[in-house]
């Protein structure tokens, strides 16, 4: 099968996949106990009011009709109305998504740039002190939950040493957010030339991003170390060494061959963190997608919950697809 056909097949599979996700989310909403109409109407509503709300929400129709209506709405980008914020779920999510993306993107750039050089270094010099420290770190960082590290670091760096701002929100309370272009405060503040906001954003990003990077760099580091050391055993490396190439160049050859699994690992972590940084967002009052999800769940805001699940799942699917296609583009050995 040629690369082109493979890409087309994967893209074609994306359609039923998204349909599958939507169906599962719909079933989940239906499985939840309680009549949504009661929740909307409130406890004082009369029977007539509830009946009219049921009709308005389409709850009186057969389940199959409801499913088709739901699919139709989702296809048009309408994820329903949130009962908590009383605005459209799609708007709510779009408003909060950049906060989460900014945080996890920075965190993974950090994690990647810690893990890759360290993994490389330890693979080149196995058994040294650095190698042992790095592998101990790889094990320990992941053995404690991320929220434990977050609380500990907040206690230490904010509570005791006062080197980071209070874990409340994305910028200083006294400052106004930059005019929205991308929703990323760092980029928007640069675009509007608002330097105080830029520095405040960075200061607030520093600790949550570092915490996530610290915890999730572990698996990436392990992957980097094992793939580089595997590559170093390859015949082409032996040949390069035998030809008398300098160590630096040999290391570069090994790195180039080991890079893909490391990128995959980072990609998978990215997809995971979109819905997995919930606790960190909660601790730092980040106001992103994760915190929105927690609010929605604790207040039984089903449309909002299903919206978040749908958006994060489809986003992760796209990330995985991108990683697979990246393989195809970069690695000449892979032919599907």
């Amino acid at each position: 099968m040629t690369a082109g056909r493979y890409i087309i097949r994967r893209l074609l599979f994306l359609v039923p996949q998204v349909l599958g996700v939507t169906t599962i989310v719909f079933i989940l909403i239906r499985l939840l106990p309680g009549d949504p109409a009661y929740l909307v109407a409130g406890s004082l509503a009369t029977k007539d009011v509830i009946a009219s709300i049921r009709e308005q929400m389409g709850l009186d129709r057969p389940i199959w009709d409801q499913y088709l209506i739901y699919l139709g709405h989702v296809a048009r980008g309408d994820l329903g109305k949130s009962w908590l914020t009383s605005s459209q779920v799609t708007e709510d999510i779009l408003q909060r998504l950049p906060a989460t993306l900014e945080l996890i993107t920075l965190a993974l750039i950090l994690a990647f740039s810690i893990a890759l050089p360290l993994g490389m270094l330890t693979a080149l010099r196995p058994g040294t002190v650095i190698d042992r420290i790095a592998s101990a770190y790889g094990m320990l960082a992941g053995a404690m939950p991320d929220f434990w590290w977050a609380l500990f670091l907040v206690f230490l760096l904010f509570g005791q040493l006062h080197v980071v701002p209070a874990p409340i929100g994305r910028i200083d309370l006294a400052l106004l957010p930059p005019p929205q272009v991308t929703g990323f405060y760092t980029i928007d503040s640069i675009l509007s030339g608002d330097w105080p906001v830029f520095w405040s954003t960075l200061a607030h990003l520093a600790l949550p991003a570092f915490t996530l990077a610290f915890v999730y760099a572990g698996p990436i580091l392990k992957m980097a170390r094992s793939t580089v050391s595997q590559a170093l055993l390859g015949n082409f490396i032996q040949y390069a060494r035998a030809s008398g190439l300098p160590r630096r160049i040999v290391a570069w050859y090994a790195l180039r061959n080991a890079l893909l699994p490391v990128i995959t690992m980072t990609g998978i972590t990215y997809g995971y963190l979109l819905g997995g940084a919930v606790l960190i967002e909660q601790i730092f009052a980040w106001g992103g997608l994760g915190q929105y999800a927690v609010q929605a769940i604790t207040s039984s805001d089903y449309m909002a919950v299903s919206g978040v699940v749908l958006v994060t799942t489809v986003f992760s699917l796209l990330v995985y697809l991108a990683v697979d296609l990246l393989y195809l583009a970069v690695d000449p050995r892979i032919r599907y």
Binding site: L32, F147, F155, G275, Q282, A293
Partner: protein, 280 residues
């Protein structure tokens, strides 16, 4: 899988870290069985007037904000912790193995379909889904087990499928097929026993991961309800006390949690290496 005595002795000599992991796991399992019996205090009963006592001889790890003995809770908690993690992992394996065998052995549309469905399940935001399921269906141990099982299932489907894809082209399988072996017999007698190694090894890693997931769920208040002794629960509730200087209700359970997860991770890592013929 070559897990005989000779291998084990060899490992102990060359990999003391793995042995350490095995010891931690053994202690955790033992505590899961007898922990609640040997705890000095009832782990679910608050002692009136003893709230937030620092560690002392009377309370080795102090007491928490409710006045419950932290040491007793740490000792009693593996029963809840490990039950959730192990049952969830077993569930994931029980569903994952047959699907993986099918997906690997019968290639083509069915295999592709199974893989893409796995993609979907793996793409679901584990944490949000777990939280929603537990909050909505009630904060019961059973529900946390389901979440762990469902979200980990695709890992085992992939793992087994990979093994089968590799095995089914091997000469001994081909030979059996030439001799007229039926598919069902081949899978049962040859493919399954040879594909199971990495699954067992990976189980340990999943268990550690499951303990962490439930820790997070408890932190947000979607885990097991308060009186049930469960480490993560303790960390979460105790976290509020850190700020006021009472560190013991969260640090001791935190360290115990980290040790448990680490133990399972180390053991799992060692077993992965043992069962992976290319890395022995």
């Amino acid at each position: 899988m070559n897990l005989d005595g000779r291998h084990l002795r060899y490992l102990i000599k060359t990999r003391p870290v793995a042995l350490g992991g095995a010891v931690i796991v053994a202690v955790a399992l033992l505590l899961a069985m007898i922990g609640p019996l040997i705890a000095p205090y009832d782990p679910t009963t608050a002692i009136p007037g003893d709230q937030l006592q620092p560690p002392s001889l009377r309370h080795l790890m102090g007491t928490d904000g409710n006045g419950m003995d932290v040491f007793s809770r740490v000792i009693a908690s593996p029963r809840t912790d490990l039950t959730i993690a192990i049952l969830g992992t077993l569930g994931a394996i029980a569903v994952g193995i047959p699907l993986g065998l099918v997906a690997g052995y019968y290639r083509g549309f069915l295999s592709e379909l199974l893989m893409r469905v796995s993609d979907i399940v793996q793409s679901f935001p584990v944490f949000i889904l777990g939280m929603a399921l537990v909050v909505v269906t009630g904060q019961e141990i059973r529900n946390v087990v389901y979440v762990v099982a469902i979200v980990n299932c695709p890992i085992y489907v992939r793992l087994v499928r990979g093994q089968v894809l590799f095995l089914r082209e091997r000469p001994f399988i081909e030979a059996a097929r030439v001799l007229g072996a039926r598919d069902s017999w081949l899978i049962r007698e040859h493919i399954f026993p040879n594909a199971i190694g990495p699954v067992v090894a990976n189980a340990s890693i999943t268990i550690g991961w499951a303990i962490l997931l439930t820790a997070g769920l408890s932190f947000i208040g979607a885990g097991v309800r308060v009186p049930t002794p469960e480490k993560r629960q303790a960390i979460a509730v105790g976290a509020k006390n850190i700020y006021t200087g009472e560190w013991w209700p969260s640090v001791f359970p935190g360290v115990a949690l980290a040790l448990t997860v680490l133990g399972f991770a180390l053991l799992g890592e060692a077993m992965v290496q043992m069962t992976d013929s290319t890395r022995r």
